[in-house]
Symmetry: C2
Subunit: 197 residues, 2 copies
């Protein structure tokens, strides 16, 4: 699920930055699969609890797995929103030239964070999970910078401002979700809770 | 939790529509409480599963309670975002006059949906849960209308467009979350699953 979600966001970014309609369609279709996997995880976790009655750490892990799946389901939704915006503006680019560089870097950070999330889920590497916060700080800085440019001296047309405002938010939220997954893994491994949800 | 979240959104709307700074502050502070309640629900549910080993419908209900709590936690976040926008623009109003009526109605619908959600959670009234979809349709129509006005003949300044775009989305997302809670209650009561997440 984490690999599929990361791949969706990567393709959504490509669809957005290269005005690639086919990639946008592929991402929009993939969202159903993410929703199904989320449902399967809930069903499997419910069955596991009913049949094996896990307790303590094991139970905490099963419940966390469900929460993480729900978070990733929302990440898939955000990738889909990015792809839908790209499709709506096709063959034009939804990103105006003034903020191209910022969105290109946000896309790179989202990729990197998605890859780290998949690795953290597989390895339970707490140091790597903590590193994710730094990526998120950079994402937040870019988010603010895009807003500054948008509100700066050379405002573009309002329809562009609407797209850029939402796209900017989608990337920022995507990164927040990765942070919440990372915090949950940290909590599972060392029992330290920090706003995981 | 559902009453507190509904009250937060109601106050956030008042803060927004009446440029009321004190109400905005109250909502922003209340969000911590929502986050704590969400955590308490997860802890209580985990303990309940560990100690009482519920199965079948009981287990499904406990797991749904956790999911619903997470959804409501996000609704609290959205109320907080509305309140923060109101505070940021204070003493000005964040909502320009062209879309005042639409936001006033969106606020009313959000109130009504929040109240119905609380009632559905208490009563498990499936008919009332289904009614929530109609409110959501009206919210979606208003969401589109605000976008149309924003992109219409008399576009305002870009900073207003940014605020309105995000606020418009916050209300639409809030309504979507109420729908997801309602669907989960329907699923619990009659075992029919329809995109609840």
């Amino acid at each position: 699920m984490s690999r599929l979600v990361s791949q969706m966001m990567q393709r959504a970014s490509q669809a957005l930055l290269e005005a690639d309609r086919e990639k946008a369609e592929a991402v929009i279709e993939a969202d159903d699969e993410i929703d199904s996997i989320n449902q399967e995880i809930e069903d499997a976790a419910t069955e596991l609890i009913a049949l094996q009655a896990p307790v303590a750490t094991d139970l905490r892990m099963v419940i966390s797995a469900m929460r993480i799946a729900t978070t990733m389901e929302r990440m898939g939704d955000l990738a889909q929103h990015v792809a839908k915006t790209a499709r709506m503006r096709y063959p034009d680019a939804a990103i105006p030239s003034q903020v191209q560089d910022e969105f290109r870097e946000m896309a790179q950070i989202a990729d990197r964070m998605g890859a780290k999330m998949a690795e953290v889920l597989a390895s339970k590497d707490v140091d790597l999970a903590r590193e994710i916060e730094n990526d998120d700080d950079r994402m937040d800085a870019l988010h603010r910078r895009v807003l500054d440019i948008l509100l700066g001296d050379a405002p573009g047309p309002v329809n562009q401002a609407v797209d850029v405002t939402l796209l900017n938010r989608y990337y920022e939220r995507y990164a927040d979700h990765v942070v919440s997954v990372a915090r949950r893994v940290i909590y599972l491994v060392i029992g330290e809770r920090s706003d995981a949800s």
